[in-house]
């Protein structure tokens, strides 16, 4: 039972989350039947589960909540603010109940009672409205059938019942097999059943879908008539059952009676009570020897445990992380195997190595897929945040989430919720204006925050867009000057000014409120996002709104790469950003005007990686140019040799190298040497001419200190 209990707890957590979600939708559309049903269903499941697994407090609690939504379902109660507030508070309490088991601190216990009385109040309101509309009550309920499996001893002094069982012809239609019911009578006591097949038609006329049989049963038992009726509980409507007590003693223990009815029943005569009474009288008078009978105990041996067919399983995230690590190890080891096989020149070994490579690739892809979870899982808490904060700040805000089915690696999602929370707080507190302000500005009364996520290439984008007051860049400029981030005469573009908000210690909010502005600025957001290899961009228009876009890699740990070599050093480029490979004579590169070469008839800026990594030996006469692409900007990278595809397990480089702009990590090759993994996006940002120009200008604006010759991004890290 313990293991199910644990499962239930997990499940209950999910249920409560979905409940919260549904409730928030319900708040927007209070008359939406589907949602009410959904809420009711969740309450019902929670109640069922908690009673099943012994969470009595939760059982009682959810029972009341279920009643509330049952009333709503039946239109006896309206979805009101009061109901929703109480339910949401109740949901919070359910979380507490789940977390602490049934142990409550005094304060929580008080809250428990308080909530219960709040809910009772709501229920009584609903019920008074319901008047006398026949509500099902306990008394009218059908008894449930349970304890019939126990073996009953037969006593001499138990009454004997005569039972006629006449199934209606159509009894098969609901899947009932009447013989099982007759069988069950045998478990109640000493029993003898006679089949009546007089109604059976000739074989040719027989409709096998109809039941033509009936039974007459003698049963001696210490059970009550109600217990016997319970056997037929499922078939009350499709079977006529008459139960009569014919004697106060066990007639079936009297051989005379048994032989008498045996003969009588064989004769296929219609049984009537008169005949029966006659037999009983006769038997009792003679009072022949008593026989002891016991019922054979049916040995229900438990069968061997078989595998359960389950369509879904739940795995703890630790196990997934372990799996992911093992797959990484496997991929690394596989690389050594491939290399070894190649050197052995053994065709058999080669084919094995190739197979292993193929399989490990598939395994890797599958593992990735397992680790992907939809963004939806963290959206609920934002919905709640928007609701609670907007109430607190007296703002009216509508929250819309789009593309919540977009999936991301679990580790990325984990790292995402905190920065997103921060962005939301900002949007609600500083972005969206109060309703009056909005109306005064000719905006709709209700503010709107849209969270939109979508795939693009190997990235996932998450956009948080509000239609609030936007960012005043003039304020930013003044603040930046005041804080000494830029000089007073600096000439920065709109975008550059905006980007200043990402600098540490930058907060434009005039007053510090409870909600945001606790001295933690957007720089933390950028830091957290770059921890998971993401980028943050901000766009804003004064008076119209602000959009923050987060760009994230699909996964973190293993990438498909292109292995290249410069002199003796290996490098890996993410395959996703590689467009095409070209060959160019060294002369052309050396003579390239303005560092641009012509690839496929187009001028492309060239980055000579040899210069970048300070490798000047053994330059081959012909260079390989790899054209990489990021955000529609193309750059050519020059290397010596292109070695081919390679699965790279990304290893972080450590703090020492955190300022390396164009390297995103390292990977271990099959022979144990290390290859640096290059980040084309950063390369492009660093070397693309236009980007470069902009950056140079920024350097100047940032002041004369050479130490400050770093990009904005470095500043924030």
């Amino acid at each position: 039972m313990e293991q199910f209990k644990k499962k239930f707890l997990e499940e209950a957590n999910d249920l409560i989350n979905s409940l919260e979600d549904s409730l928030l939708i319900l708040e927007e559309k209070p008359s939406e039947k589907m949602i009410i049903e959904e809420v009711f269903r969740v309450m019902h499941s929670l109640k069922g589960g908690s009673s099943m697994f012994g969470f009595d407090k939760m059982d009682a609690f959810t029972h009341e909540l279920e009643t509330v939504y049952d009333l709503i379902r039946n239109d006896s109660l309206q979805v009101s603010r009061e109901v929703l507030d109480a339910t949401l508070a109740a949901v919070d309490h359910l979380k507490v109940l789940l977390e602490n088991g049934e142990e409550l601190s005094p304060a929580e216990q008080k809250n428990h009672q308080l909530l219960l009385s709040r809910i009772h109040h709501i229920i009584s309101k609903g019920e008074s409205e319901q008047n006398d509309a026949g509500k099902p009550n306990k008394a009218s309920e059908l008894p449930d059938n349970t304890d019939s499996v126990g073996i009953t001893r037969v006593y001499e002094q138990v009454p004997t019942y005569y039972i006629t069982v006449r199934p209606h012809p159509e009894i098969f239609r609901n899947g009932t097999n009447p013989i099982l019911l007759v069988d069950e009578l045998h478990t109640l006591g000493h029993c003898k059943a006679y089949l009546k097949k007089s109604a059976l038609p000739k074989f040719d006329d027989l409709d096998p879908e109809l039941c033509h049989l009936a039974w007459e049963v003698f049963l001696a038992t210490d059970k009550t008539i109600d217990d016997i009726k319970d056997v037929f509980i499922f078939v009350e409507d499709v079977c006529t059952v008459i139960i009569q007590k014919i004697a106060d003693v066990n007639m079936l223990s009297k051989s005379l009676f048994v032989s008498a009815i045996d003969t009588f029943m064989q004769s296929e005569q219609a049984t009537d009570m008169k005949n029966l009474e006659e037999f009983i009288a006769k038997t009792l008078n003679s009072d022949s020897s008593k026989e002891d009978d016991t019922i054979a105990i049916r040995a229900d041996e438990a069968g061997p445990i078989k595998r359960l067919t389950i369509s879904n399983i739940r795995v703890s995230s630790d196990k997934l992380d372990d799996l992911m690590n093992l797959v990484s190890e496997l991929v690394t080891t596989q690389a050594s195997l491939s290399l070894f096989a190649e050197n052995q020149n053994n065709p058999e070994l080669m084919s094995i190595a190739e197979n292993i490579e193929k399989i490990s690739r598939q395994l890797r892809d599958n593992t990735f897929e397992i680790c992907l979870i939809p963004i939806e899982t963290i959206i609920i808490r934002f919905k709640r945040l928007v609701r609670d904060l907007s109430n607190e700040l007296n703002k009216e805000i509508q929250f819309v989430a789009e593309g919540t089915e977009t999936e991301l690696d679990k580790s990325i999602i984990d790292g995402l919720s905190e920065p997103l929370m921060h962005i939301f707080r900002n949007a609600i507190d500083h972005g969206i204006e109060s309703a009056d302000d909005r109306l005064a500005r000719g905006k709709p009364r209700q503010g709107k925050i849209v969270l939109k996520s979508y795939y693009s290439g190997t990235n996932v984008y998450i956009q948080i867009k509000d239609d609030g007051k936007g960012i005043d860049v003039e304020k930013i400029r003044q603040k930046a000057i005041a804080r000494g981030f830029i000089s007073a005469d600096a000439n920065l573009s709109y975008k550059e000014l905006l980007n200043l908000v990402f600098l540490p210690g930058f907060s434009t909010a005039a007053k510090i409120t409870e909600v945001s502005g606790r001295g933690v600025g957007l720089d933390v957001v950028v830091k957290k996002i770059s921890d998971i290899r993401g980028d943050v961009e901000i766009e804003s228009q004064l008076g119209v709104g602000t959009t923050i876009t987060i760009k994230l890699p699909l996964t973190l740990s293993i990438i498909d790469g292109l292995l290249v070599k410069i002199d003796k050093t290996h490098f890996v480029l993410p395959l996703a950003s590689v467009d095409k490979c070209f060959e160019l004579p060294l002369e052309k590169i050396r003579n390239a005007f303005n560092n641009k070469v012509v690839l496929d008839g187009k001028q492309v800026p060239l980055v000579n990686l040899r210069n970048e990594f300070d490798i000047h030996e053994n330059t081959p006469k012909v260079q390989q140019i790899i054209q990489v692409n990021h955000d529609e900007v193309k750059v050519g990278l020059s290397v010596d040799i292109v070695l081919g595809e390679y699965q790279a397990v990304l290893k972080p480089l450590g703090r020492m190298f955190k300022d390396l702009e164009i390297v995103s990590g390292a990977t271990i090759l099959g022979d144990g040497t290390i290859a640096l993994v290059l980040d084309p996006a950063r390369i492009i940002n660093t070397f693309d001419r236009e980007t470069l120009n902009r950056r140079e200008k920024l350097y100047r604006d940032l002041g004369s200190n050479k130490q400050q010759l770093v990009t904005l991004k470095e500043l924030i890290q």
């Binding site: 009218s140 009932t176 056997v231 879904n312």
Partner: protein, 121 residues
């Protein structure tokens, strides 16, 4: 004798506790998360019993029962539904749809097996 039993419930814990009990009793268990999901099992294969919840997303228990009864191969298959004491109306509705019997939640494994022994052998 081993029976093939389809268990339909959107709650994983209920599915598992029912599944575990039935497998221990020597049966083969096929599980489904809702009515729609359950229908994939009704493809001509032998099914001895269906145990279904009534409240489920996508396709509820009542619709599932009707759907099963409309299939020639499964016209007579026993169907038990899970219910609670407070659901009298639903119980009748399920019976009318063609259910064979019901199991009242909460239940212990013995109770479940007892209910099953009433409708399948």
């Amino acid at each position: 004798m081993e029976k093939t039993i389809v268990i339909v419930d959107d709650s994983e814990s209920i599915r598992e506790v029912v599944g575990f009990t039935l497998v221990n009793a020597g049966h083969k268990v096929l599980s489904a998360v809702d009515g729609q999901d359950a229908l994939r099992y009704f493809n001509g294969e032998k099914i001895d019993l269906v145990v279904t919840d009534l409240h489920m997303p996508v396709m509820d228990g009542i619709s599932l029962i009707k759907e099963i009864r409309s299939k020639d191969d499964y016209k007579f298959v026993p169907i038990l539904f899970l219910t609670t004491e407070s659901q009298q109306a639903r119980k009748m509705e399920a019976k009318d749809a063609g259910a064979t019997g019901w199991i009242v939640k909460p239940f212990v494994p013995e109770k479940l097996l007892a209910a099953i022994s009433k409708v399948v052998r």
